[in-house]
């Protein structure tokens, strides 16, 4: 990694691992997001994208690895060492949630004012001065309303500023959550599936909002909607089973056979034949094991649920032992090395192949 690229990387994730008990949700993940760019994090369900977000924003403490945020003023923070609430406050990383988390009983304006909490706390002399009307709280308060108004206008929500957030339609709630995150004045904005559940029109509005934000703030984006990803992102990182399988521009990722395999899958029988050729019997045994054990840590509350057994190897060159439906990219790798055929042809010729079936892991709701 050259010194130059270090400089303009706003976020650097190095050797990040996150384990829940025996389950490896992220294994040795490294990537970086450049300043002023939109970096997209994509991957099939359960690839660990949200877990990466939760590590970056401090909701989870990673098991291993380093997450560095380089501020525009030259400061840098090791995010895994900061307490949860200081990541937005000091390192200036804001985020949205996959399942929208608004303050639904508060008005839109109030939502955006809460986001400016730390700034206003200081201005009000930690409440004490403000309570007696001393100091610049009044001015700061007016400024914060202005900022809120600015973002409401950007998000096209200014007409509904005095309505409760819970009253908004879905697409507007997504935009409000982004506006709220922006009101914290972030340098890096992490968006968890902002386009999920939006109709094409709303999706287009979102795209333009994001392009607008991009001019001032770097964005890290989790998204399933490929039209959004391909249109607006500058850089794409593809995850599968907690490992990075591809990294590059949208075009290069689109044609990467490993990505295609991960998304579209390859035929199981075919994999089996390939693996038999390789002689990897462990994998074949694993393939025969019954249904996919797909309990994340959040869902295994029932005592009926068995132990979490699938482990994902993560070091390079190591044997991959996972249950059926696991890493298609790895299977693809194995197949390529065993029998050099034309991979792209195969994969695209079999679009009906099985897609990964395992449920999201890593504490998703």
């Amino acid at each position: 990694m050259s010194a130059n690229s270090m400089k303009d990387a706003i976020l650097q994730v190095e050797h990040l691992s996150m384990k829940f008990g025996g389950l490896v949700a992220i294994g040795d993940l490294s990537f970086q997001a450049k300043r002023g760019e939109i970096t997209a994090l994509i991957g099939p369900n359960g690839a660990g994208k949200t877990t990466v977000f939760n590590c970056i924003t401090g909701f989870y403490k990673p098991s291993e690895g380093m997450i560095t945020l380089n501020g525009a003023d030259g400061s840098s923070f090791l995010l895994e060492r900061l307490p949860n609430h200081e990541i937005p406050a000091r390192a200036k990383v804001a985020r949205t949630f996959q399942n929208i988390r608004l303050f639904s009983g508060m008005t839109l304006l109030e939502n955006l004012l809460v986001a400016q909490h730390n700034k206003l706390m200081k201005a009000s002399g930690y409440t004490i001065l403000g309570l007696f009307g001393i100091g610049g709280y009044r001015r700061a308060s007016a400024e914060s309303v202005e900022l809120a108004k600015h973002w409401l206008e950007k998000a096209d929500l200014v007409d509904r500023a005095d309505d409760p957030a819970g009253d908004l339609p879905y697409g507007a709630q997504r935009r409000l959550e982004i506006a709220r995150a922006m009101c914290t004045g972030p340098e890096l904005l992490c968006l968890d599936e902002p386009a999920a559940g939006l109709n094409p029109k709303e999706s287009a509005a979102l795209n333009s909002l994001l392009m607008d934000i991009k001019s001032s703030t770097s964005i890290l984006l989790i998204e399933h909607d490929m039209s959004v990803v391909m249109q607006i992102s500058d850089h794409v990182v593809v995850l599968e089973y907690g490992r990075k399988i591809s990294d590059g521009s949208p075009q290069s990722v689109r044609t990467d056979p490993r990505v295609i395999a991960a998304y579209l899958g390859v035929d199981d029988e075919e994999v089996e034949t390939v693996l038999t050729e390789v002689g990897d019997e462990d994998v074949i045994e694993q393939l025969d094991i019954g249904p996919d054990s797909a309990h994340g840590p959040g869902t295994s509350s029932s005592y009926l649920a068995g132990p979490v057994s699938d482990t994902i190897g993560h070091s390079e060159g190591e044997r991959v032992t996972v249950s059926k439906g696991a890493s298609k990219a790895a299977q693809f790798d194995a197949r390529v090395s065993a029998a050099p055929r034309k991979p792209t042809e195969r994969a695209t010729a079999k679009p009906a192949g099985k897609s990964p079936t395992s449920k999201p892991r890593g504490g998703r709701k």
């Binding site: 949200t50 989870y60 949630f97 840590p297 959040g298 509350s301 029932s302 504490g363 998703r364 709701k365």
Partner: protein
């Protein structure tokens, strides 16, 4: 050592009663997620029902075998108390199901106030002493074990076994566990949720009634205000064991019983309740979901 074992036995007796009440709390909490504050008073109503039955038996017959008398007291108390809890659930909790979380809590507190004052109004505010029913005391290696204590422990053990069977081995228990996991889904799969919840209240009340009967037999006195302290202790026990967990409730009850008897014996009887509550706070600081409770995973 003898002294210690003696306290252990006292604690076991006390803990059995707490455990029986705690199950009612924990079951209701498990199934509808509310703290049934009226449960302590349900226990008190059970004890009063047993008291009235005891007096009826005394006035109708010259002498009744103790076991038979206890059995009749227990059964009538169970029936009557179940009727109370069933009615309360129907009137005060069911209309608020699915509404605001604090609303049923407030109606429960209201019901608790109403129940204890109902008994005060109808039965008078004074303590109600009864002559000792069972007075035999055995001396085993210098440790005195009263027949009362043996009865309490045996009855509790029997009931818990029956109860365990009901919850784990019958379709009713399966329906209860299903409602506990996901009420809506259970309803979609054909479980009669209202009925299951009603039965849960009835079961809780029946166990509380037994606890009330045993309490009356053990202490020989009951008053309208006696529901609160055992109620709070049992609730503490349920939380200590991990609310929602049935073995937890029993474990918590026993623990609270032991803490109380040990603290009274070795430190100060005045501060036994302080000790119980403090230990609850300390345990919860280190195990925020109680001893056997499911850890709550924060979903982001």
């Amino acid at each position: 050592m003898q002294y210690f074992v003696q306290q252990l036995i006292n604690g076991l007796t006390l803990g059995s009663i707490y455990g029986l009440i705690a199950i009612g709390y924990t079951m209701v909490y498990g199934i509808i997620g509310m703290i049934n504050f009226a449960h302590g008073d349900i226990f008190m109503v059970g004890a009063f029902a047993a008291l009235v039955v005891f007096l009826i038996l005394g006035s109708l017959f010259y002498s009744v075998p103790v076991v038979l008398a206890l059995l009749i007291m227990m059964i009538v108390a169970m029936l009557l108390t179940s009727l109370y809890n069933w009615t309360i659930e129907k009137v005060a909790y069911r209309p608020l199901r699915g509404s605001f979380r604090l609303a049923p809590l407030i109606t429960a507190i209201g019901m608790s106030i109403a129940l204890s004052n109902f008994i005060q109004v109808t039965q008078g505010p004074r303590n109600k002493p009864i002559p000792p029913m069972v007075s035999k005391v055995y001396d085993i290696y210098g440790i005195s074990v009263s027949l009362k204590q043996i009865i309490i422990v045996i009855v509790t053990a029997l009931l818990l076994a029956l109860f365990w069977y009901l919850v784990n081995r019958t379709s009713l228990g399966r329906a209860q566990r299903a409602c506990e996991q996901d009420r809506k889904m259970a309803a979609l799969l054909g479980v009669d949720v209202d009925r299951t919840i009603s039965i849960t209240f009835i079961m809780g009340a029946a166990l509380a009634a037994v606890a009330g009967t045993l309490f009356l037999m053990y202490y020989g006195v009951i008053a309208f205000s006696d529901g609160f302290v055992p109620g709070v202790k049992a609730f503490t026990a349920a939380v200590l064991g991990g609310i929602g967990s049935l073995p937890g409730a029993v474990l918590g009850g026993l623990l609270i019983g032991f803490i109380e008897s040990m603290w009274s014996a070795y430190f100060s009887i005045d501060y036994k309740d302080v000790a119980a509550f403090s230990i609850l706070a300390i345990v919860l600081i280190f195990l925020p979901s109680g001893i056997l409770g499911r850890p709550e995973v924060e979903k982001v």
